[in-house]
């Protein structure tokens, strides 16, 4: 099959970028989108041109590295899938696709399709943990946790930190990402002692990193490759509000 690609090229952080057109022919519909990018890059290399820089690693939808907006949609057209899980059979022969990096104030472009998502790490460093040193843990079965609670915590903990939620949001908000971690730890009994300070610190770090606010459009939920529910944002907001109430 044949595809026309308009790909964002930007040599570096402080350089202007633009869309460049590439035509690819002889593609196999069973190829993954990133394998198509490999084919393009090998061709560019043979032509003596610089290949397109893009991030990818596990290529099975779990590491959260890959991050491309295809025709404006973070991670492309498939529900519950990352860019690396998109296969060419999802597109029509001869289609034109625009491929861009995440667009968000807090994720500056480093080169072509590569952005700097270190703001997520800073939010995690502010409070995305349970403070337990190695060796301090009681027996794992000492504290029963209901199956349903464990499942809900898993659903939230499944976030891969790719940043699609931010890229999809018109405000560039990271609230789904933060809410996922706040909920994962806040749902579990182990997470209770630090529940208030955790949410406060993470929200402060989120604001400091330049992410916007939530205006309930649910675009984040729609693009999330792990289909994390935007309901968690309400949960986080409640926890945050409670964390500001002084102890009675």
């Amino acid at each position: 099959m044949k595809l026309h690609l308009k790909i964002w090229r930007q040599p570096g952080k402080d350089h202007p970028g633009k869309l460049e057109m590439y035509d690819l022919d002889g593609l196999n519909p069973d190829m993954s989108f990133l394998e198509m990018m490999d084919v393009l890059n090998d061709r560019l290399t043979r032509e003596g041109k610089e290949p397109v820089a893009f991030e990818h690693d596990c290529r099975e939808g779990i590491c959260g590295s890959c991050a491309m907006a295809i025709n404006g949609e973070p991670h492309g057209p498939n529900d519950g899938a990352t860019t690396c899980q998109v296969y060419l059979r999802s597109f029509k022969d001869g289609e034109t696709l625009t491929v861009e990096p995440w667009r968000a104030r807090a994720f500056p472009v480093l080169k072509d399709l590569v952005t700097d998502r270190s703001a997520f790490d800073r939010i995690m460093q502010a409070g995305g943990f349970i403070s337990v040193n190695t060796g301090q843990a009681p027996d794992a079965n000492a504290m029963p946790i209901g199956k349903e609670t464990a499942e809900q915590a898993f659903d939230a903990a499944h976030c891969i930190g790719c940043g699609a939620c931010v890229a999809a949001c018109r405000n560039g908000s990271a609230m789904l990402f933060v809410a996922a971690k706040v909920s994962h730890l806040g749902l579990l009994p182990q997470g209770q002692p630090e529940r208030k300070q955790r949410v406060r610190r993470m929200v402060e770090a989120m604001d400091a990193a330049g992410f916007g606010n939530c205006s309930n459009q649910y675009a984040c939920e729609a693009v999330c490759p792990k289909e994390i529910s935007a309901d968690l944002i309400a949960r986080m907001n409640r926890d945050y509000a409670l964390s500001l109430v002084p102890k009675l």
Partner: protein, 639 residues
């Protein structure tokens, strides 16, 4: 060279306890004077960096990813073993130890494996305390599943994303230390050399992957936690970035490389679909709890699975290994699959595949239960192949998945270079010639959380904390940085015609054909020749566009493939010299009448540890004899 594994004296079950009781310590006030470098932030690296920082050491952690959370431990699906015996089914530390030794076909070090089994129980406790959402029963207790090579249920899991949840646990512990300023984190930094001075590892040279800046970092100890080298085969279940550069560079600086030919080929992966393929996707071993492997009884039977009647199906694992059935260990299951495909009974377009069938489980448990257990794996299979495994059996084929070989370490996890420690998949120590399922996560976290905090202190207590460096040491840092600089220049200056991926793919094919599931003397000799030729072509015809001063992914790949091209030859050499069959290492010359591995314990119950002896020169093989005090060397049988 005499290899001293420094295994403590005393009965096996008391060794670790005695070691901990007598280990030399660094006082809390002195710990902050020592600087420790941790390279890699997967399970081993993140857990080590966090635990050491908690103790008070100053830690610098490095990863080539944009965030420490991306390390490939994240992709482990099925689970983590621990001898908790929560199921009351007869498990114990001793049994986990024995299963692991036996699973490794008696080619691992007894004392290390026993310790691994011993601390496995602490890992689960630690992870639960961090908030890892393991699967639970309705009553709130942790649940378990079975994995290959064991007759008890001891595998803890979090749906099909156990590695992700464990890594995020370690990552959160690491993040806490970074936030508190106890760990200095360097993401997007790749280690390109080890600095050795006065016979000790004293630091590393890194390249900043965004702006190309080279920098030397000094430390009192260096921990390599950089994973395995299975990407030498190009197609594997590894992440695309996984590489051997850190351990290979350390090897070139004097660290011994042990058992490089021990590579695990995992039986259940999605088969290759075309030439463009960039990676292979694993379907977790846990699927073999409920899935049944079969092929048609008659060669050339091309009917769709549904049209082949029951009596014309060969459930080959159940037939050959009745007591373990579909849960036979990985090396054995892979070879069995290869054998039936070689007989012309393989399925799918290429004939390189066997069925993994869930229809019996769906009938027995209902689709809902099967969905609950494996939904994400079935979804993944559907995404990749466009087929539903609820309706027709999955097609699977073996693929490279893990490397048991790695840098040689002693009981302290220290390499032969003082100050250089190697943790997790990057070392060789615990899995012998074959790793059992759900043991990689266990080893990574055992090394990082519970072993290195003790053994590192023992080493550092004998070292003066880093002060001003002497001239010779300073010179070593300069020299290493210059070597790295020259190598980058060399890669950029070839300016030939072929992209690096082409060389990598060719290397992979050579290794898969000659040093894969089945090996022969002739094939290995041929493989070595082919790799030498390919390496020559690489340095004549490689094309790396762009410069060394900015983000250049072609350059990153080229450096890694250049190292694989050297390591690949050593893998073949090792396979050639190990003139026996054991575990994953199946030499066709040495097999039983039934086509199983024929070990030669008299001559090869040993670790082969290779010493680098210079560019273009043959590496030297040293030997650590494996002494078994507690177990008797038995012929592995899963029948």
């Amino acid at each position: 060279m005499k290899l001293d594994a420094r295994v403590p004296a005393g009965p096996l079950a008391d060794k670790w306890k005695n070691f901990k009781a007598s280990v030399r310590l660094v006082s809390p006030a002195n710990k902050r004077k020592y600087e420790v470098i941790v390279v890699g932030t997967g399970l081993a690296g993140a857990s080590a960096a966090a635990s050491l920082a908690e103790l008070g050491y100053r830690v610098k952690a490095f990863c080539f990813h944009d965030s420490p959370r991306r390390a490939h431990s994240i992709a482990a699906q099925g689970g983590i073993n621990a001898a908790k015996n929560y199921q009351n089914d007869g498990d114990s530390v001793r049994r986990l130890f024995y299963d692991t030794i036996k699973g490794g076909d008696f080619r691992s070090r007894e004392a290390n494996v026993y310790r691994l089994a011993e601390v496995s129980v602490n890992i689960i406790d630690q992870c639960v305390a961090q908030g890892v959402p393991f699967a639970r029963e309705y009553g709130g207790m942790l649940t378990n599943r079975s994995f290959g090579g064991a007759q008890v249920s001891r595998t803890f899991y979090a749906r099909g994303a156990t590695g992700q949840q464990l890594l995020l646990g370690a990552y959160s512990a690491l993040s806490r230390q970074i936030g508190q300023g106890r760990v200095q984190m360097f993401p997007r930094h790749e280690m390109l050399d080890l600095v050795v001075a006065d016979g000790k590892a004293q630091g590393i040279v890194t390249r900043n992957l965004v702006n190309g800046e080279l920098k030397a970092h000094a430390a009192d100890a260096v921990l390599l936690c950089t994973g395995g080298y299975g990407n030498a085969y190009y197609l594997s279940t590894y992440a695309r970035g996984s590489n051997a550069t850190a351990i290979w560079r350390a090897h070139r600086r004097g660290a011994l490389f042990a058992n490089p030919c021990f590579t695990q080929i995992h039986p259940t992966c999605i088969p290759v679909s075309g030439e463009y393929q960039s990676k292979l996707t694993l379907m977790s071993e846990s699927l073999r709890n409920d899935g049944r492997c079969w092929v048609p009884k008659h060669a050339g039977d091309r009917r769709p699975a549904g049209l082949i009647p029951e009596e014309e199906r060969d459930y080959f694992l159940e037939r050959i290994y009745p007591s373990y059935g579909n849960l036979a260990p990985r090396d054995i299951a892979s070879r069995a699959a290869k054998r039936v495909c070689d007989e012309g009974r393989g399925v799918g377009k290429s004939g390189l595949g066997v069925y993994l069938d869930f229809s019996e489980a769906i009938g027995r448990l209902g689709q809902k239960t099967v969905q609950e257990r494996y939904a994400n794996l079935f979804d993944m299979y559907h995404e990749i192949t466009g087929e539903s495994a609820y309706e027709a059996p999955m097609r699977i084929f073996p693929a490279v998945h893990y490397t048991m070989g790695g840098l040689w370490v002693d009981y302290h996890l220290m390499s032969n270079l003082p100050g250089l420690f190697v943790l997790g998949e990057a070392n060789f120590s615990d899995h012998g010639a074959n790793r059992l399922g759900a043991s990689a996560l266990m080893q990574g976290l055992a090394d990082g959380y519970f072993v290195i905090p003790y053994t590192l202190g023992d080493y550092l207590s004998q070292q003066k904390p880093s002060g001003p460096r002497n001239a010779a040491e300073t010179e070593a840092f300069w020299a290493a940085t210059e070597d790295v600089q020259n190598r980058i220049r060399k890669l950029l200056e070839v300016r030939g015609g072929r992209p690096v991926s082409e060389f990598h793919r060719q290397l992979g094919k050579i290794l898969w054909d000659q040093c894969g599931m089945s090996r022969t003397r002739k094939g290995l000799e041929q493989g070595i020749e082919q790799i030498r030729q390919l390496r020559k072509e690489f340095w004549e015809d490689l094309n790396v566009p762009g410069s060394g001063e900015d983000l250049n992914q072609s350059l990153e790949k080229a450096g890694r493939v250049a190292d694989f091209l050297e390591l690949g030859e050593l893998m073949c050499r090792d396979a050639l010299e190990r003139d026996e069959s054991c575990g994953c290492h199946f030499r066709e010359e040495h097999q039983t009448a039934e086509g199983e591995c024929a070990r030669k314990d008299d001559s090869f119950a040993q670790v082969a540890a290779w010493e680098y002896s210079g560019e273009g020169k043959a590496a030297v093989r040293h030997v650590e004899p494996l002494k078994y005090e507690e177990v008797s060397l038995a012929t592995r049988s899963y029948k």
